[in-house]
């Protein structure tokens, strides 16, 4: 479990910080990498561009914000889920909208969970705790032959 790296992709620094704090409070000690846009996220996941030489843990869990300038979260999700090398990476959409069409679109693209960023802190903590639970049960490492 501890070898899973949590990648948080969100252009709002505050949200990243809140996620980080709440994960920590939920007892999650995994490495957390925060990126602020979709392109950086794809570079990181596919180890290309500026991330080409960066050694990182093969096991990823991605927390993706939907509304980001440039490449948005849905597109990042689509690219991750349509590539056989990365499609097994769990992706959780973390966003402010509970628009049912957007939720359905994300599930259709293969996202593993969809968490609405609640304004109410207790709900947020609850969501993050569920996320912690989720992280603790993903024990299926990615097949090495799919690792880029």
């Amino acid at each position: 479990m501890s070898h899973v790296t949590i990648l948080v992709v969100d252009d709002d620094e505050g949200h990243v910080e809140l996620v980080r704090r709440n994960l920590k409070r939920s007892g999650i000690r995994n490495t957390i990498v925060a990126l602020s846009d979709g392109q950086q996220a794809l570079d990181f996941v596919f180890r290309r561009g500026p991330c080409a030489d960066e050694p990182h843990n093969a096991n990823l869990l991605v927390l993706l914000d939907i509304n980001m300038p440039g490449l948005d979260g849905v597109e990042v999700l689509r690219q991750i889920k349509s590539d056989p090398r990365t499609r097994l990476i769990p992706v959780l959409m973390l966003t402010t909208t509970d628009d049912i069409r957007e939720i359905n679109r994300c599930y259709a693209l293969g996202c593993n969970a969809y968490i609405t960023k609640p304004v109410d802190p207790s709900r947020f903590i609850e969501a993050i705790q569920q996320l912690g639970l989720f992280i603790s049960v993903i024990n299926t490492p990615i097949d090495p032959k799919f690792i880029p």
Binding site: D12, N67, P118, V119, D120, F124
Partner: protein, 432 residues
């Protein structure tokens, strides 16, 4: 005037019968049904008077284009006096560019073909032109042979002008409509973006207010363990226990309120965009289901609800359900403090549409607030119930998307009736 308008030849003995002129020389026919010649003569004069007094120009001509009769209407429309024009050729009335019309008309009549009603121009005695609508009928003799033509002309200038204006107005309206539709779309998009994007900073406001609260708790624990002089410890405790938490409560309360408002805006923007599936809706069943889902509120308000028989509507079942749920729960919320709620729901078909009403004996609205009743964030009795003031805005949006109408009649302290117009099925409209 129809093609069957009686017309009279200049022969005083001629009698028109349903568009046919029978020549006076054929007396045997006239007398065949036993009428006396005198009686026929009386009828002919009567018909001649009728033609003479008609507002339309009524002209008869022979097949070689010679004008035979010319009524007062023709004098007024075309300027020529009967005495001057009878015996003249009809071509002087026809502008150069439509000369072919005349020969075509006469050819068609000779061949027994019908000449459909048409619009054209004619020249007046002073050389000016007038737009006319023209009806041409054949004149037959007793043997059924075409011997001439009758023409009924009506001044069409004003109609043509109105038609032109109508086209202009229609175009202007269509343009205005397109602009409105676009503005509406922009507003929808704006509301969506606002309600959507405003949540992002809210998450921070609430999240970090919560973080600060936690930090205060932690500091307090450290403070308890630290050996500070009692007066300083008291001051710091005051800040940590009262000042900061009070400030945080205001931040939280305000951002919660902010959240509810943006959620309400988002809901309204979705109401404007949700897809409607039009079908026949059993409104009675929709209301029953709504009442069932509201049964707890009905019980706790000790409300008496009466539902009369409701006609079916043509609309979206979810949307109509939303409308009644909002109206009924409003009636349950804004109860007059002095009496239990009585709610009556009724409806009937009127003028090809369904009219429903939801009447209550509740708090009512002051006259002054009625223009704002259906606007967003309007709250008239915040002390009676909580809410964001979106319900009626949503009702209005749904009803408007049905091309219906919603309005309220209310008296403060007496009660309110909400009226709805909704479309009905085409079949029902015909059955009416």
């Amino acid at each position: 005037m129809s093609d069957n308008t009686p017309v009279v030849d200049d022969d005083a003995m001629a009698v028109a019968r349903f568009g046919r002129i029978v020549s006076g020389s054929d007396n045997s026919r006239l007398g065949a049904d036993g009428d006396s010649v005198q009686e026929e003569h009386r009828r002919a004069l009567h018909l001649a008077a009728l033609v003479e007094s008609a507002d339309d120009a009524i002209v008869t001509m022979s097949l070689d284009g010679v004008i035979r009769t010319w009524n007062r209407g023709a004098e007024q429309l075309l300027g020529h006096r009967a005495a001057d024009i009878i015996g003249e050729s009809v071509t002087q009335l026809v502008p150069e560019e439509s000369r072919h019309e005349e020969s075509t008309i006469l050819e068609q009549l000779k061949n027994g073909l019908r000449v459909p009603h048409f619009e054209t121009r004619r020249r007046r005695s002073d050389g000016s032109f007038v737009e006319v609508s023209l009806t041409v009928s054949a004149i037959f003799d007793a043997a059924g042979t075409v011997v001439g033509a009758s023409k009924i002309m009506r001044d069409f200038t004003e109609q043509r002008r109105s038609a032109g204006r109508l086209v202009e107005r229609t175009a202007a309206l269509a343009a205005a409509n397109a602009v409105l539709a676009q503005k509406n779309e922009e507003i929808e998009a704006f509301v969506y973006i606002v309600s959507h994007d405003l949540r992002a900073p809210l998450v921070n406001l609430q999240g970090f207010a919560n973080e600060l609260g936690r930090s205060c708790d932690a500091l307090e624990r450290y403070l308890a363990a630290a050996a500070l002089p009692p007066s300083e410890a008291r001051s710091i405790q005051g800040i940590l226990r009262d000042d900061i938490p009070a400030a945080l409560r205001f931040i939280s309360a305000s951002s919660n309120k902010f959240e509810r408002l943006t959620d309400a805006l988002l809901l309204l923007s979705r109401t404007g965009k949700q897809e409607l599936h039009f079908e026949e809706v059993d409104v009675g069943a929709v209301v029953d289901a709504t009442l069932l889902s509201l049964r707890q509120s009905i019980q706790s308000a000790a409300a008496e609800v009466r539902v009369d028989s409701l006609p079916a509507a043509f609309g979206d079942v979810t949307g109509i359900g939303q409308v009644f749920a909002n109206l009924i729960s409003n009636a349950l919320k804004y109860v007059h403090p002095g009496r239990p709620a009585q709610i009556r729901i009724g409806g009937q078909i009127e003028n090809g549409r369904a009219h429903y009403w939801v009447t209550d004996n509740g708090a009512g609205f002051p006259k002054s607030s009625q223009p704002r009743l259906f606007q967003v964030f309007q709250r008239f009795h915040p002390h009676l119930a909580s809410g964001e003031g979106m319900g009626l805005a949503i009702v209005k949006r749904v009803i408007e998307r049905h091309r219906g109408k919603v309005w309220a009649e209310s008296e403060e302290g007496v009660g309110t009736t909400f009226h709805l117009h909704l479309p009905i099925c085409a079949a029902e409209r015909q059955g009416q």
